[in-house]
């Protein structure tokens, strides 16, 4: 999966990839004070294109808001919601809006799920629908946080650690290995990294084509930009 941390004020972004065995569950957000956890499990292509490396994508997300007693499991098939013991199941084929005391949920048919958790978090899960008979690819999901300022300072996770911003310094833009993409030096979290200018996609507005977002790409599974390494973010279950 591609991770993108965008700083709209600076009109800049940082991006990195996380690749591991398919089926791995990563912690994306963990806030011990608000009791919010977001975990995601990866899937792979149905069949490996001999020309390409094995890509992984997120296929399932598990979201917990402990204080509100809310659990959501979002897969490429359906959306399971439970709130204080009550359960509901929604399908991506629905066009649904549900407003509750603690959670608003809006499904745009076969496209996206927007969830607003009262006084804490708003996020969008994008469904990338792939032709069922596609010999290689299968449906996958994207996770976008829209409003993260209510998280505590202790929030962490592969995405959560960036919720309160980071300080980085970019210098010495120079020609890198790829002539289309210049390299630069980045000083971040006490590390000096060589980063590459590239593009990633934001699929919120256009789920098929996406919109290009220029970003500084951090190589080797985000080494240097994420605290620790990817092994530190692997968890045993979605909840």
């Amino acid at each position: 999966p591609h991770f993108i941390i965008e700083f709209p004020d600076q009109k800049d972004a940082i991006c990195f990839n996380i690749n591991d065995k398919p089926g791995t569950i990563f912690n994306l957000v963990k806030d011990p004070l608000t009791g919010i956890i977001v975990n995601g499990q990866t899937i792979r292509d149905k069949k490996i294109d001999p020309k390409n490396m094995m890509n992984t994508y997120f296929g399932r997300f598990g979201i917990i808001h402990a204080k509100l007693g809310i659990r959501l499991m979002v897969t490429t098939q359906d959306i399971l919601v439970s709130e204080r013991g009550k359960q509901a199941k929604f399908y991506w084929s629905d066009n649904t809006t549900v407003k509750g005391p603690n959670m608003d949920l809006h499904i745009t048919k076969d496209r996206s799920l927007t969830v607003t958790l009262r006084n804490s978090m708003k996020f969008v899960i994008v469904l990338h629908k792939v032709w069922k008979k596609h010999p290689y690819h299968q449906d996958y999901l994207g996770f976008y946080t829209l409003d993260s300022h209510l998280f505590s300072q202790r929030v962490h996770g592969l995405l959560g650690q960036f919720f309160h911003g980071i300080t980085f310094e970019v210098s010495d833009v120079f020609k890198g290995e790829n002539t289309d993409k210049p390299d630069a030096h980045m000083f971040v979290k006490g590390h000096n990294l060589t980063v590459t200018r590239g593009w990633q996609k934001d699929y919120r507005k256009n789920v098929k084509e996406g919109e290009d977002v220029p970003c500084w790409f951090i190589h080797n599974n985000g080494t240097g930009i994420i605290d620790g390494d990817i092994g530190d973010y692997i968890v045993s279950g979605l909840f």
Binding site: P1, H2, F3, I5, E6, F7, P8, Q10, D12, L28, G40, D49, P50, K51, N55, Y57, F58, D110, H128, K129, W131, K132, K133, H134, P135, Y136, Y140, G142, F143, Y144, T145, D147, S148, H149, L158, L159, F162, F163, H164, G165, I166, T167, F168, E169, V170, S171, D172, V173, N178, T179, D180, K181, R197, Q200, K201, Y203, G210, D212, P214, C215
Partner: protein, 635 residues
């Protein structure tokens, strides 16, 4: 090729690789060439590729010392504005030149440092058209010198099954013939040709190469008496329609022949000769008429006549005696032809189930009677009134081809250029053979609006023997895997109606263990066909329709990275000591441009910028304390 001022031995052509993949008639060809400058001075290396006129370039790159220069497709007008100075100085912006009848030439040259290497890669795509019962993939190869590794590889994947496949080259000698390897299984074919350095030599002790000409692959797919092949792939569908064993419809044809002064000599003689064969090939149930024009219009007989042996013989004698005379009055001649057909229909001289057509042969611009081109087009359209098809043959290069092209398209037909050469008779006969046998008329495809959209066409005036109608569209929902299809038309004796269900097949079963080739083939085929249709539409219809068609064709050309008549490919060349980094433009030529470019070949250089992710230069610190937007996704 190399700059002729340099010694040939100083440039070593290490690789010429041509890789072609055809899936369901849609051909994707990649031509790659690597040259090494072994000299101790820098020298110019040029790369020239001839590609079919019907193809769209979709990619070009040059790799020099590990640095890759990639061509970028831009809106033609914007590219031109960007390089206004050069364009206003009268330079033609083109890496593409017309080359013969079927091809156009893409050429680029770069300066290569001593002991450096350059790799050129050009990709183009085209939908192969079925003509006279077969598809033809043509690869022109002219390496001009011996190549260390020369290779042509083509893979054909046809889900309908391959009926036959032939591979040969115009340059193939008896010695080279065994090197053309061909493997054909039910739905797949693999063709390769890879002569060694010695096998390429013209003679054992010379440097000349035998490899110089066209490499051709002709094939046909299996057909049944059904709806044809409908493929649904990844949210797009394509329908290939050409049922087997349909009887031909009788035709009512009016030949409109220009005998104006400019036809003097060879052209008139070739027309007379061609008419002898064309008339002989009329079937007895056909009806025909001859309209001969210069300043005035003359008809062989006042009505359409049945093509009996006696009448044909008489017509042949008449055409043998056509002599040139004066002006060119196209308007009155075509209106007379339309009137002959209309009267024949009204008087029931011709059978009800028959196809009417006008074949106009002319070599010049109208200069007698109505001479305003748009007015002639309007008059012709009104006179024909959708009751017949107009085919225009433009003889030679003086003809106003675009005028004929629009006029033909407005009347459901097409125009073809006839080149002045010794084989003009064959060209005329060849064109006639393509359109002479109508199998169905008023072919109407019905797909449910609730299931599909953006269909490339649903009504076709005729289906000719040996041709094929191709329709493509988008599925309303990517998960829809079937939809009902109905095709209705007029056939010889009965109302032709076929109904059926299109459904997705499992590509893993049809082509198991194959490298994945179906990713966006159908989508690109749809885009290619849609752009071609829109380019046709932009020449006819109301001003608003023309504008919309142009805008839509441009959008698709940019989206799918096609160099079409509305876009240009901007190629940045590396900086040299003499010249700063500069940029070239590859355009797609229109028929009129081909004529102009023929007169003034060459290309020009411009200063340019290229697309890359915007970079904030210098040192800066970015601290974000506001809530950033974070996401994780994939593409």
């Amino acid at each position: 090729s190399v700059n002729p001022s340099q010694s040939l031995s100083q440039i070593e052509f290490q690789n010429v690789k041509i890789n072609c993949k055809v899936a369901s008639r849609f051909a994707h060809t990649v031509m790659m060439s690597t040259a090494l400058n072994k000299a101790n001075v820098s020298q110019e290396v040029s790369f020239e590729v001839e590609l079919p006129k019907t193809a769209f370039i979709s990619n070009f790159s040059m790799e020099i010392d590990g640095k890759v220069y990639v061509g970028e497709v831009k809106e033609k007008e914007k590219a031109k504005k960007q390089y206004e100075a050069a364009v206003s100085s009268g330079q033609t912006a083109g890496l593409v030149k017309a080359s013969g009848r079927k091809m156009e030439k893409f050429s680029v040259s770069v300066n290569i440092a001593a002991n450096s290497k350059v790799t050129f890669t050009l990709t183009y795509e085209e939908l192969l058209q079925r003509r006279l019962g077969k598809y033809e993939l043509m690869i022109r190869v002219k390496p001009q010198q011996l190549v260390q590794h020369f290779e042509i590889v083509a893979d054909v994947y046809e889900p309908q099954g391959i009926e036959f496949l032939d591979a040969y080259g115009t340059f193939i000698t008896n010695e080279l013939l065994p090197l053309v390897e061909k493997t054909v299984s039910d739905k797949k074919a693999h063709v390769s040709f890879s002569p060694t350095l010695d096998q390429q030599r013209k003679c054992s002790d010379c440097e000349g190469t035998l490899i110089d000409g066209d490499f051709l692959i002709n094939y046909e797919v299996k057909r049944a008496q059904d709806l044809g092949d409908i493929q649904i792939v990844n949210g797009y569908f394509v329908h290939f329609f050409a049922p087997a064993n349909l009887p031909r419809l009788p035709k009512n044809v009016v030949f409109v022949i220009d005998k104006s002064g400019s036809m003097t000599g060879k052209k008139m003689q070739q027309t007379r000769d061609a008419m002898q064969t064309i008339l002989s090939e009329l079937h007895e149930e056909d009806h025909f008429a001859l309209v001969i024009f210069a300043g005035d219009v003359e008809t062989w007989k006042p009505t359409l006549t049945r093509a009996t042996e006696e009448n044909v013989d008489e017509a042949k004698t008449f055409t043998k005696n056509i002599h040139v005379d004066g002006w060119t009055n196209i308007n009155d001649a075509v209106l007379r032809a339309a009137d002959l057909l209309k009267t024949a229909r009204a008087n029931k001289v011709v059978p009800e189930n028959s196809a009417s057509m006008i074949i106009l042969l002319t070599d010049g611009d109208p200069n007698k009677g109505e001479t305003r081109l748009e007015k002639i087009q309007e008059n012709v359209k009104n006179a024909i009134g959708g009751e017949a098809t107009l085919f225009c043959l433009g003889f030679g290069f003086d003809v106003k081809y675009s005028f004929l092209d629009v006029m033909a398209k407005e009347n459901n037909g097409l125009a073809r250029r006839i080149y002045e050469a010794s084989d003009a008779v064959l060209q005329l006969q060849g064109f006639y053979n393509e359109v002479a046998n109508v199998l169905l008329s008023d072919v109407h495809f019905q797909y449910p609006d609730s299931k599909v959209n953006s269909v490339t066409g649903s009504k076709f005036k005729q289906l000719f023997n040996g041709s094929e109608i191709v329709v493509s569209g988008r599925m309303n929902d990517i998960e829809m895997n079937d939809f009902p299809v109905e095709v209705s038309a007029q056939s010889l004796n009965t109302e032709f109606l076929l109904k059926g269900q299109a459904s997705t097949r499992d590509w893993n079963i049809i082509f198991p263990d194959q490298e994945y080739i179906f990713g966006d083939f159908t989508e690109r085929l749809w885009a290619y066909l849609t752009i071609q249709n829109l380019l046709n539409k932009k020449d006819k219809g109301s001003a608003e329709e023309k504008q919309n068609a142009t805008a839509e064709a441009l959008e698709l050309s940019l989206k799918y990275n096609f160099v079409t008549p509305l876009t240009s490919m901007v190629v940045t060349k590396p900086e040299t000591e003499e010249k700063p980094e500069n940029t070239l433009i590859a355009d797609k030529l229109t028929e009129d441009e081909r004529k102009e470019v023929k007169a003034s070949p060459g290309f020009s250089s411009y200063a340019s910028s290229s697309r890359s992710a915007p970079v904030n230069s210098g040192t800066y610190t970015s601290t974000s304390r506001s809530s950033p937007v974070n996401w994780v996704d994939s593409d």
